[in-house]
Symmetry: C2
Subunit: 344 residues, 2 copies
């Protein structure tokens, strides 16, 4: 009963057409626009598809239809729970719309990101998700020339005209800084990831400074220590802070992982948190609650951002000229690591 496939192992559209006694166009319609084919014909075709174990050749389809149904994302690293969480939600939503995720990582290097973006475009990504605004303008020009819809996530700025979904890093951190100062803290240090080529980190630092200026504090008095993402970096940074400014009473960290490192260093140095020094984070990833004391931090809706980013990108793929800028709210999670300034 099973007809031998002529000439090769992998069934093609032509094989299905022959078996179902229709043209290849009808087979294509059955698979891609089923409502344009009557029930009887359609069932005959789908039966042939199943019997032959036919699946479309991806390259041929991409070439003919001029799309791949893949969407690329370049993130700093999947090992950062922030991106892992957001990307997971992004991928799930893409999957629901029949798109597949292409992933590359940049290790927080702008040069590597540039390369990876170009590689993803070369791989035929229909659209792209990128993290933050900072990048070489040539890259944006390249993406525009190639007509690859591109969405920026994790940042939001009213001054930018690129499609984006994110939150205002500056405003969020300023709000936390106001709470810190509300607890009486004036000697504040900031531990952050490198701010060069990283608008998210930079904006968080600016947020602290803005809140200080607003409160009549000198923003230049903010001690800033930059370290790569990592718990050990946070430990090192905290030691540097306390060595450089031993009267620091609050250390605001630009992400939770650095803050966890700071907490660990404080404990090892015999510094009590928050009695001696308060420590705050940013992101509200899982370990923020698990820390001892639990971390005061900025909660960011990473999953929602990832999910909605997928929706926006899919919309962009369907229609030209969607210029969405979506701001998501953040909120402060007050926990035990922030307390009143220690009496002098």
């Amino acid at each position: 009963m099973t007809q031998p496939i002529e000439g090769n192992n992998v069934p093609t559209l032509a094989d299905v057409a022959k078996r179902a006694n229709v043209s290849t166009a009808t087979v294509s319609r059955c698979l891609n626009s089923p409502d344009r084919v009557v029930g009887e014909t359609r069932e005959r075709v789908l039966r042939a598809v199943q019997e032959l174990g036919y699946a479309p050749n991806f390259g041929a389809r991409a070439l003919a239809a001029k799309q791949t149904n893949t969407v690329g994302a370049v993130i700093p690293t999947m090992e950062n729970a922030v991106f892992a969480r957001g990307l997971q939600a992004f991928q799930e939503e893409l999957g629901r719309h029949g798109k597949t995720l292409l992933v590359a990582s940049s290790a927080y290097s702008q040069k590597l990101e540039d390369e990876q973006v170009r590689a993803l475009v070369a791989r035929g990504a229909d659209g792209l998700l990128l993290i933050g605004y900072d990048r070489n303008p040539d890259l944006y020009a390249f993406l525009k020339k190639r007509k690859v819809p591109t969405l920026v996530a994790w940042s939001f700025s009213a001054g930018q005209d690129r499609p984006a979904i994110g939150f205002d890093n500056r405003a969020a951190m300023a709000e936390l800084a106001r709470l810190v100062m509300g607890q009486g803290h004036r000697n504040i240090a900031c531990i952050t990831a490198p701010t060069e080529f990283n608008d998210r980190a930079r904006e968080r630092v600016f947020g602290i400074q803005a809140a200080m200026a607003e409160a009549g504090q000198d923003p230049d008095a903010l001690l800033i220590v930059e370290k790569p993402y990592g718990i050990e970096s946070g430990e090192t940074a905290f030691r540097e802070v306390m060595a450089a400014a031993p009267n620091t009473t609050a250390v605001m960290c630009a992400n939770d992982v650095l803050a966890i490192g700071a907490l660990r260093a404080a404990r090892e140095m015999g510094i009590t948190v928050p009695k001696d020094v308060s420590i705050t984070g940013f992101d509200d990833i899982e370990i923020a609650m698990l820390a001892e004391p639990a971390l005061t931090t900025v909660h960011v809706p990473h999953r929602e951002m990832g999910r909605r980013a997928a929706g926006i990108l899919i919309q962009m793929l369907r229609e030209e000229d969607t210029r969405q800028c979506v701001e998501l709210p953040t909120d402060i999670r007050l926990r035990q690591s922030l307390g009143p300034v220690k009496a002098a």
Copy 2:
């Protein structure tokens, strides 16, 4: 100086050929086998490529060359630090070899995994990385028919003949169980992720039971509570254990996240770890060290596994019939959560 592109916006191979005054075959050779083209011709072509901003059409290339240079991976979730870490290393290594990663997730559902695998194959994945051995044999048959090289990771079993890179989950957990029993524990419970369709979880349970049998203990006496992956699940499971068997003195968790949950529940229940009850984990992810008390667990070289998996798959893509089974070592990380059994 810049010649207008005839007819369309996006330069094609033909445009480059015309500009460089060579055939399209020569352009293709310059890009793909540069050593087969003399220097002068090659430079002329590469200049034309640059001037035109040409990049190959992915679908055309995939169709003609019968490969996409993408490799797919279906993992349970990127939010599990275990997979995030391994996948990150996998992706980095693929990138070094000019391959791009296609990612899908299965939420620990076998049915969803099946669908996602087929979707990745439909997207033209040249090869596949899958997690664990357990899956519908039809899926393996499908992959074989489509000639998609497939590598299993996170599991290793000498009885399986599929290409795989992983560790012996059973032996690793048995080793930890022997240490637990070496501390005098006889009333042992096991908290695990669901074992149906999850050989890794199942083997870890079997490992405890094997060690018990070996020590003359009744393996059926092992209290087993299955819960989905998650900290809260671990909390709930621990409560169930202590309700069902209040004289339990050791709880062995099949992953660190469940163990963290168990630690939290113990604290809330006024149970001291390890004085009253010892708790162990599996995986040695970052929070194992951060926990209070720090978790005794099985260390698994996730990054190395991911990196080497990429190497193996690339090898499989280059050569037919590579049948590698690589076992990676695990080792026990003794920390404060495991102590001697409480005197009766």
